[in-house]
Chain length 470, copies 2
């Protein structure tokens, strides 16, 4: 590492150490706002979260900060021009809404009353995604302080949406409508994680997501199972048979057409995956699960990063209270989510699932299927210059070699890739034990600050290696 | 019909006509007591109902009347010895508690303020079961009046419990404790119905019931379906596969050993079922269902009366609220009920189900199974002399041929059969439109009095055809 790089690393680190306490105080304020986009009773909290972030970005120094309304929850946009006509334009994407959370789900403390225990900050949204959005505010200030600049080395834009945890139903339309304002050479998504605290990694792709709820209707009301059971179709049985038929004995999805267009893993990618220090027993502990199980012919990492899946998120019907109730239930439902990989078209998947479900439903049972708006998959080539910059910036922050992964989850980044025609890169510092969508979600404070360091190094590196030829 | 039978029919009918008004006034008094065993706030009403009935039975002439306490609601016991050492002993079973009812559930009048409209008596408990218990008080008095006897021709016992609508939690223990007092040659259950007002029928059996809740545990907490889905077992999928595997393509239960001992329908029984004026479209309307579906090779009536079944009463797991939550759920459960027919042993069925479930559960999923106390099936052979007596007595009352049915539901009568070692016979005059457990429950007054007539004829017929050889 050169002397000037050493100096930069040191200057960034010093700035961040000095501003760490105030940064964390601010983040805790934001985490107190229960911006749960899936629950209508929290709609005003999501709006409040957007306003809070907008004020904070203004405070950070962004000359332009706007709250963009949508038919659902608002997004926050901010812009800070470089002043250099050759500078590339980078759009950072994240979200300020969070998953539902309640103390009784198994949290050790109130999910919206952040607490620090053992250098970890516990709160819903600590890692997914408020913490990872917020480290950029400290990062850009450290970048300016360390370089003596008054504006970032790149034209820096932020788009922080408010409906990611609800499937981003209005995000695509927003991006299309505001495409001019959002125009960028690259998109940096800070809504993912890395391998582990010891193994910094850059993610190169995310899976897409198609979700549906299937509701099956049998008798008009719950009916007596003694008088009628065994002689009429039971919608709870029908929904179970549907779920059961979804996978074959190789754990492959049976829906005809589901795998159409799937981009298969290359040998090189399978090698890179295999080189990662993957410990299946440790992974299972993180998954809090007791066996690995998935599509035959693929490793666990391949299954979660590069293979499409069908998963039951919820199932319900009939009497679920204490004791018993001898009924044939009137209806039953299942919520399914399908993870999609590069090459799969969500519209095609929806059509395939609808056709398959309709064919499975037995006589005397009526079926409703509602699909949520889908998220497309995305994948960035390993040799892309902006991807190299992200890897270098992260390497400086962590002082360790950076490897490459993918992400099994899904995000609306693919819409940005498609509408803006810009490659999507992923910069995340969350680790697998952070408990996304689970009780006791947390972020490691040391890694959160490394995220800020990475952000501080990235803008200069991008400007240096990827500026427009005048 | 012989001249003496004609005389007996006429004498009974005359007595009942003469005492009809007072009988109905008394029944209305009883129906005013809201003896809802499921609702703790009505506990004193259930006790009051027992006391009311005990006083009434004393008034009827029973020399022994006792209110038997249980850890829950009390039962009423009454005994009237014949005086004839050869006379058989008969125990009448019914219940004095009722289902919950409130005007706002859809009643046309207050459920506990009985009213007569168009020769029907509307009140909670009118048919289930106070009306059908009470017709025996008029019946035994008519029997005495018509025969000039001062005691019934049989040793007559009554056991009227107070927790039937709450699943009879203390009934089995009560019967075991009082088995000596309850000893009988036959049990007459008056808590069922008949085919229709035009088609008097005698029920010859009820199905048994085994119920369980199966809970499958996967990850220790709900986990992110993007990060882990497709690579660990999903308990909601596992519960669905379990339910799906419960029936084969012929809708037969697949649990090995489930059908062990099942008493198959005889050709004669199938003929008798087929002779009933069954209209499947009408039956489906009553079932509020849109297709008949059940075990291959059996008619709808055979399926609900004479075949064992496995039914899902409730299923649940994961996120069931509005919108979506992309998780692999931590657990999922299903409530199953198995209707059992004669020859099936609930303990054997429980063992078979436990073994089968345990074998189905995939690696990495933990399983809990809880069975509720079971109800045994009961079935009386068509040629049993006491059953012939019930059919003859009913034939005299209705002046029409009596046919035979079964009951798909389950009741505590089987405990009496098992503990007392006596066959169970069913004498009920309620019709399907009587609205058991529903708003506007009623009893047809003409049929109620036919019930009293049947009771009046039954005791003499039993003594004549079934007395002990001295």
């Amino acid at each position: 590492m050169s002397h000037s790089v050493d100096n930069a690393v040191s200057a960034v680190r010093t700035y961040i150490e000095q501003h760490r306490a105030a940064f964390l105080d601010d983040l805790v304020d934001w985490l107190r706002i229960p911006s749960v986009s899936a629950q209508p009773e929290h709609a005003s909290d999501v709006r409040c979260s957007a306003d809070w972030l907008a004020a904070e970005l203004k405070e950070t120094g962004f000359p332009t900060v706007e709250v963009w309304p949508t038919p659902g929850a608002p997004a926050v946009f901010a812009e800070w021009p470089s002043g250099d006509p050759q500078a590339p334009t980078v759009l950072v994407y994240g979200h300020h809404d969070v998953q539902p959370a309640a103390r009784e789900d198994g949290w050790s403390s109130e999910p919206f009353e952040p607490v620090v225990r053992e250098n970890r900050l516990y709160a819903r949204g600590a890692a997914d995604d408020k913490g990872q959005v917020f480290f950029h505010t400290l990062g850009v200030r450290a970048h300016l302080a360390a370089t003596g600049r008054t504006a970032p080395a790149v034209n820096l834009k932020l788009l922080i949406e408010g409906e990611e945890e609800s499937g981003s139903p209005h995000f695509r339309a927003l991006v299309e409508e505001r495409a001019g304002r959002l125009a960028a050479d690259a998109v940096i998504v800070s809504d993912t994680g890395m391998w582990s605290a010891d193994t910094p990694t850059v993610c190169t792709g995310m899976r897409g997501l198609a979700e549906c709820e299937i509701r099956l209707h049998g008798p008009d009301q719950d009916i007596h199972s003694g008088s009628f059971g065994g002689a009429v179709p039971n919608p709870a049985t029908a929904v179970a048979r549907l779920v059961s038929a979804l996978h074959d004995e190789h754990a492959r999805v049976t829906v005809p057409g589901f795998y159409d267009g799937v981009v298969e893993l290359t040998d090189r990618e399978r090698e890179l995956f295999a080189e990662l220090p993957f410990d299946e027993r440790q992974w299972l502990r993180t998954a809090q699960s007791y066996a690995a199980h998935g599509e035959a012919g693929y490793t666990t990492l391949e299954r979660v990063w590069a293979r499409p899946t069908a998963e039951v998120n919820g199932i319900g019907g009939g009497y679920q209270g204490p004791g018993s109730k001898t009924i044939v239930p009137s209806s039953a439902m299942v919520k399914l989510s399908f993870r999609l990989v590069a090459g799969q078209d969500p519209d095609h998947v929806e059509k395939a699932v609808r056709a398959w479900v309709t064919e499975q439903v037995p006589e005397g049972v009526r079926c409703e299927i509602v699909f949520a708006p889908a998220t497309r998959p995305c994948l960035t080539p390993l040799d892309h210059p902006a991807l190299r910059s992200v890897a270098r910036a992260m390497g400086r922050a962590f002082g360790a070699p950076v490897r490459f992964t993918r992400e099994g989850g899904s995000g609306p980044a693919a819409d940005l890739q498609e509408v803006l025609g810009a490659p999507v890169l992923f910069l995340g510092i969350s680790v697998p034990s952070d408990g996304w969508h689970a009780p006791d979600e947390k972020v490691e404070l040391d890694l959160l600050l490394k995220g800020a360091e990475t952000s501080a190094h990235l803008w200069g590196d991008l400007a240096e290696h990827w500026s427009h030829v005048p």
